[in-house]
């Protein structure tokens, strides 16, 4: 890392760096301003959530998993609830499912607005950053008014949702959406017509459809490369069966396309939310689940704002899960950053990174072992690791 001559000039970005709001480590070898090699190292925000989940009851885990991601918190709780409901062989009532989708779409709006601001900031366009975050407050307020919390909404229960939607909330959501829709139209104009901003996005970080498929890109990143992957359409869950979504696709694959795809998705979210408000199915808000969940395995895949979220839950019939596995979209998309950065200017790298809307703490499920002297990675078996831990503490005590 310190050798500048052998590997060329290496610019380390992170784990602490102004471009990254979360810890991740990148190394870019540059020739002048052009990146010739890129490397990523993860694991700085590994929190051991999956292991922690094994020690908590089914109910408590709902709130633990909601904290996997600070931005798409609802989608994680939803994925977990759906998995547990699948194991228990019950289904939440339609009204609850519709409210779940409503919150999920509001969350998508807040997430996309947040992303728009962050990417604009990476491009040095702080005005767009400030305005999009100002307008994001509107949807945050809507979420707070609806659920009672601004960030971790805790809308889900195992088997349903906590609250009902009343006329007062429906009205304020409609009003908020009108404002947001008008602003979103303006932002679409900005990102697709601002001459200065386009210099930073048009033709930058182009990912072809073939590349996107090989690298397993997901979510809006993939859809901007014309890969029609959207679980809300392909495998509708919760209320998406009754309220279908249209997929936003673009074939250009550059940063501009990623902006446009996300903004077009916003319009789709507005439409969907209005439709849900109009045709909210009547009925119960939830069903009760037993404290012990029948043994079995469940897999749930949902479309988070950043792409596919995957949950695997295994029960042995007890009052807590035996194993739980979470995979978040960032890990699928990170490969593309490392690949696409090569050949671009250093100045474009933060934009390319922001283009996938990365979220490090939710994607960190592993710690890379790394030999400081040789710079080589290495792997350890579970037995080795256990022995290492025993030795480590023995050494500390001695």
């Amino acid at each position: 890392m310190t050798d500048n001559t052998a590997q060329g000039f290496t610019v380390p970005i992170g784990p602490q760096h102004p471009a990254l709001k979360e810890p991740g480590h990148f190394q870019f070898t540059v020739d002048g301003e052009i990146v010739t090699r890129a490397y990523v190292r993860l694991g700085y925000a590994h929190r051991g959530i999956e292991k922690a989940a094994e020690a908590r009851s089914w109910t408590q885990n709902l709130y633990l998993l909601e904290r996997v991601c600070g931005i798409c918190s609802h989608i994680h709780a939803l994925a977990y609830s759906l998995a547990v409901e699948q194991l228990a062989g019950v289904e939440a009532p339609p009204r609850a499912q519709a409210i779940r989708v409503l919150v999920a779409e509001l969350e998508r709006i807040h997430s996309h607005f947040l992303w728009m601001g962050v990417s604009a900031h990476e491009a040095g366009f702080d005005t767009l950053f400030m305005y999009s975050w100002r307008d994001r407050e509107t949807v945050m307020d809507l979420l707070e008014g609806l659920t009672g919390n601004r960030v971790n909404y805790s809308a889900n229960l195992l088997g349903g949702v906590k609250f009902d939607l009343q006329a007062a909330q429906a009205d304020s959501i409609r009003r908020g959406l009108d404002f947001l829709e008008q602003r979103t139209r303006h932002y679409l104009d900005v990102v697709s017509n601002d001459a200065m901003f386009l210099q930073r996005t048009r033709g930058i970080g182009v990912m072809t459809r073939a590349q996107a498929e090989v690298m397993g890109a997901v979510g809006p990143t993939a859809r901007a490369s014309n890969v029609g992957r959207d679980l809300r359409v392909e495998a509708p869950y919760a209320a998406y069966r009754d309220f279908p979504v249209r997929m936003a696709l673009d074939e250009r694959g550059d940063l501009e396309a990623r902006f446009e795809v996300r903004i077009r998705e916003l319009f789709e979210s507005f439409r969907l939310i209005r439709q849900i408000l109009d045709d909210l199915p009547p009925g119960e808000l939830g069903v009760r689940l037993p404290r012990r969940i029948p043994a079995g395995e469940a897999v749930v895949r949902l479309e988070a704002p950043r792409g596919e979220v995957y949950y695997f839950v295994k029960s042995n019939g007890g009052d807590r899960p035996e194993r739980l596995k979470v995979r978040t979209p960032t890990i699928c998309n990170l490969t593309s950053v490392v690949r696409l950065a090569v050949g671009h200017q250093l100045a474009d790298v933060p934009m390319i990174l922001a283009g996938i809307d990365p979220c490090f703490s939710c994607n960190d499920r592993l710690v890379q072992l790394y030999q400081e002297e040789t710079g080589e990675g290495r792997s350890m078996s579970w037995k080795d690791l256990r022995q290492y831990g025993i030795d480590f503490y023995a050494r500390r005590q001695a």
Binding site: R56, S57, T59, N61, D141, N152, N193, D194
Partner: protein
Amino acid sequence: MRKRFGTMLPDICRSLFRRPATGDYPFVAAVTPERLRGRLEWDPAACTGCGLCAMDCPASALAVAVLDRKARRFVLQYHLDRCIFCGQCVVSCRQGCLRMTGTPWELAALTRETFVTYFGDPTDVEQVLAVKPEEDPGTPG
């Protein structure tokens, strides 16, 4: 529309003649939504001392002390600093004893002790405090 410079000109022009969007919070009280999930309130009338609220709390913020089940003497220990305002306890309590209030919502304090609340009859609370000075459920493993 066509590609052009300064697409955000209308925004910045409007902002020149507008107050900042930032709230004047410490000087002007912020309005909170009606549903805001804040501090927990306990109504002992219907409580059966079942302890479900404490069992389901993901943050170990609650503990129920049963002094006398027949006489319905219960004390609910609530750690405000641990509470994550998820509202699970409110749902878990089948008797409807628990409620989350949005006012006051400014919950900061200078010492940690102020965050621990004992709900219940004052004499009962004294008794609980005398018996076990500081019962700490801790966080699950």
